[in-house]
Subunit: 201 residues, 2 copies
């Protein structure tokens, strides 16, 4: 049995990691930050996401997880990079409006900032970095989903900026794609599959 | 007598342009957008600042002024570029919070976005581009004032992000410097002096 910590409290991310790493790592058990007590480990204080890049933040979180638990640890950071904003909101995606996790306010602010930017310059990408730290190796893999923004939110799936983002070659927003379809092309899905390939070697 | 249009309604900018271009251009008259009627010219609809750079926007505005009035036209665009925001707010400085010209809201949003960014990464610069268009020449000159941000506004002079910005080598914020001292080192002052040099040749 291999136990891996995902340094996150997000049940959806735990499920995604189990689905994608499962075939690559025999007898895999993936636990999250909320499961530490159940295997007799103490909770620890999470590090602030103060890095300058998704990769920095993913590594910070994976190193902290390994340091405090001794378990091989996976961590991710991801966000939306808008070309007309020089790649921001980027690492600040979840707190672009100044508060953490207020999707509605983040979307409203982004649209207002881009009001005078011509449609043809509304190109953007979702990007993710996933880090893996086990005391012997530090791996960092990236994924990217290019596309463009629309000016009116559409769709009920997903979260964050999904209702404003149309992946390249699609007509639906990320929030209109069904979750399996989004997983197949998503930035985090790509990064996790790359990690699975590396761990299977 | 040489009449030059400054494509702006800002009296402070008009005064600054007169002071700096005056010695370079004999018998100079500088008028602003609000003075067009007084010399028998019709007002025109200003172009939106939709460019991707300060230089783009300055040129857009200077070309529009020359096209509509036939007068040699000067226009500027400027803003704050924050390294931890990949150079944003940049061309969106005046409307970073989603509304145009709300200095308080722009400052509050910027500070909230930077809350987890370590102090040593709070480097920034004020940048300006000034364009001149007279039907024969198109000139664009740039100025830069490097420095860093603080987390509590200080000072009553200036406008915009001045209370949060400490020019390199100073202890006072741009809003604590007296106006003459700020003019001497400011991004726009530098750009205007470069333009004066070019026009004097």
């Amino acid at each position: 049995m291999t136990t891996i910590l995902l340094a996150s409290r997000n049940a959806k991310k735990l499920g995604e990691l189990r689905r994608i790493l499962g075939p690559a790592v025999p007898e895999l058990e993936v636990i999250g930050l909320d499961d530490l007590a159940s295997i007799g480990l103490a909770p620890y204080e999470e590090v602030p996401e103060s890095g300058a890049s998704f990769a920095d933040n993913a590594l910070l979180k994976a190193r902290a997880g390994f340091k405090h638990t001794g378990l091989p640890t996976v961590a991710d950071d991801s966000g939306l990079t808008v070309d007309a904003l020089n790649g921001m909101p980027g690492v600040l995606s979840a707190r672009w409006c100044g508060r953490h996790g207020d999707d509605r306010a983040n979307n409203d602010l982004l649209l207002a900032q881009l009001a005078d930017v011509p449609d043809e310059r509304l190109t953007a990408a979702f990007r993710a970095s996933v880090a893996y730290v086990d005391g012997e190796r530090e791996l960092v893999v990236d994924g990217e989903m290019p596309g463009s923004l629309i000016r009116e939110p559409r769709g009920e799936h997903g979260f964050g900026y999904d209702p404003l983002f149309v992946p390249a070659g699609r007509r639906q927003t990320s929030a209109e794609l069904d979750p399996a379809e989004k997983d197949a092309i998503s930035h985090r899905g790509q990064a996790l599959r790359l990690l699975a390939d590396l761990l299977a070697r």
